[in-house]
């Protein structure tokens, strides 16, 4: 039986299952144009902007690696780890249009040996953990040009 696909956090990204492709959801300040991720709804981080009006926008789905690392040991709770634990890579990715750096896990199968600062990556949605009949989803980064590493990310 197919698992139900549920975002692991509400409102932070689209799964793209309507055919638009997955994207992170940030905010854009109506006053000064500052972006934020996760989205701000109450205040603008710009000290010279008093705007309280924000639009929710999909962020660029491609960016370049600002830095990267991996997690050789199982992170503590509340991380829900696979059993047995499988190490994964993380990357901080610079989005040119928004001029911000956003973190994410790399998709499975990527090791630090595959990565270099400045590499282009693209956003995908992938299973973070499964519990009961649900697959809990999160955004991840995937090297541009790599095939679909995990099935189903495109919905």
């Amino acid at each position: 039986m197919a698992q139900t696909r549920v975002p692991a956090v509400e409102g932070w990204f689209t799964t793209g299952e309507d055919g638009t492709g997955p994207a992170l959801l940030g905010s854009r300040c109506a006053g000064c144009g500052t972006f934020a991720f996760p989205a701000e709804s109450a205040f603008c981080r710009n000290p010279d902007c008093a705007s309280t009006s924000f639009e929710t926008v999909p962020l660029s789905t491609r960016g370049r690696i600002w830095s990267y690392t991996d997690a050789r040991y199982q992170p503590p709770d509340p991380y829900v780890a696979a059993d047995p634990y499988e190490p994964f890579c993380l990357a901080a990715v610079e989005l040119a249009a928004e001029k911000l750096v956003v973190m994410g896990q790399m998709v499975g199968g990527v090791t630090v040996d595959d990565l270099t600062v400045g590499d282009e990556v693209e956003l995908v949605v992938d299973t973070l953990y499964a519990e009961g009949e649900c697959d809990y989803l999160v955004w991840k980064w995937r090297p541009v040009g790599a095939g679909p590493v995990t099935p189903g990310w495109e919905g």
């Binding site: 981080r45 991996d70 050789r72 992170p75 503590p76 993380l90 973190m103 630090v112």
Partner: protein, 401 residues
């Protein structure tokens, strides 16, 4: 904003409970450190007119009201207290509070105390299902531990400045040697580059021996007004003063990814500001009217061996990209021009969060008095500490004798 004519306060006493994994309630470490500092000052508990506590968030309610917890442990005297939390910078903010009380003329003698009891392994967020807390969410959604962030900075140094894994290992080797004779340090064992590089990789490129452990410990200071210190002068111990305390926050837009955030600020509307870390000690230098060239020694927050190299640049010991050369030339080792972490640093202590920024100051006090046996920086006259607490807390204290 007018600077006070004399914004100095005197350090009359410094005290510590040794760092370790003792498994006792944190208040016991704080109490021991406080008594130690009071003895060092030649003062009694009843001489204290203000208690400034640095909080711990992993030890229940007593940890949230640390100032009161320590005051109760010493015996209620009616003394006013405050308790502050600023993550790793908590100790510096506690010092800043005590200093402000003294400079405002509200008290003559203040006691600053921080102590912690820590769990084993990676720091985890406080328990419960807290989906509006970025510190909880970064573990849940990314599995991003503290070493994840340290490793991102380390990799960036390698990419931008050609730092090598051996450079990072050499920082550990240096600090291990520094801490050998420090009776308050938890780890007192020399290590070789080969041993560091042979230790398990935790968060590439950082290895187990390069990442600071979590420790139990306690540190305390007795601070006083300059007038009070002068009235008591006459002993053989040189008077050490706190000349500046910086507790700055970042300036928008901060282009460096900071723990526990998912993203940096966006620089789409405003040009990126100068970095946060370089602004921390810069504010202390500006307050004191001196510069990094005047510094005899520094205690910086080596959460990882690689991060110590970032600090060399951030506290102005060298220009950007020059830290590796400073290390390789032995400038920051004992015997060099400006030893960094003569105490052994977090590398030899492990981190006892609310006590750590206070412990940095304790080491500076002993160095400036010339009493840091086995690790003394000869002729030290000016010392600076630097540290950064998550959620945007800068911390730097400048001391002079």
């Amino acid at each position: 904003m007018a600077a006070p004519q004399d914004a100095r306060v005197a350090v009359l006493g410094a005290g510590m409970h040794a760092w370790g994994k003792w498994g006792r309630p944190f208040a016991e470490y704080g109490l021991a450190a406080a008594r130690d500092a009071l003895d060092d000052a030649g003062l009694g508990w009843r001489d204290v007119q203000y208690v400034s506590g640095a909080d711990t968030i992993r030890n229940g309610y007593p940890g949230f009201v640390a100032g009161a917890t320590f005051a109760q442990a010493l015996g209620w005297t009616g003394v006013p207290v405050s308790s502050v939390y600023a993550a790793c910078a908590s100790g510096a903010v506690a010092i800043a509070n005590a200093r402000a009380q003294i400079l405002a003329g509200l008290c003559d003698v203040a006691l600053v105390v921080g102590a912690d009891t820590t769990p084993k392994g990676f720091f985890a967020p406080v328990g419960g299902e807290r989906k509006d807390d970025p510190d909880w969410l970064r573990f849940r959604l990314l599995g991003a531990t503290n070493p994840t962030y340290f490793a991102l900075y380390a990799r960036r140094r390698m990419d931008r400045f050609g730092a090598t894994e051996e450079d990072f290992a050499q920082v550990k080797v240096k600090n291990a040697r520094h801490g050998l004779a420090n009776p308050k340090a938890r780890y007192r064992k020399e290590v070789t580059v080969a041993e560091v590089l042979g230790s398990p990789m935790v968060a590439d490129p950082l290895r187990l021996l390069e990442i600071c452990a979590t420790s139990d410990g306690g540190a305390a200071l007795v601070l006083s007004s300059m007038d009070f210190a002068r009235r008591r002068a006459g002993g053989s111990t040189p008077l050490v003063t706190v000349d500046a305390v910086s507790t700055v926050t970042p300036t928008f837009p901060n282009a460096v990814i900071e723990m526990p955030n998912f993203a940096t600020d966006s620089a789409a509307a405003v040009e990126p500001a100068p970095g946060f870390r370089p602004s921390i000690a810069a504010a202390a230098y500006a307050q004191a009217g001196i510069g990094p060239e005047d510094v005899s020694l520094a205690e910086v927050y080596d959460l990882s061996s690689a991060l110590e190299l970032d600090w060399y640049e951030d506290i102005g010991l060298c220009g950007e990209g020059e830290a590796e050369k400073l290390l390789r030339d032995g400038v920051t080792a004992l015997g060099g021009r400006v030893p960094v972490n003569p105490s052994g640093g977090l590398s030899c202590f492990g981190e006892a969060i609310p006590a750590q920024a206070i412990a940095q100051v304790c080491e500076c006090v002993w160095q400036l008095r010339g009493s840091a046996t086995g690790r003394q920086v000869e002729g030290a006259t000016v010392a600076v500490t630097a540290n950064q607490g998550l959620f945007g807390h800068g911390s730097s204290v400048l001391l002079r004798r």
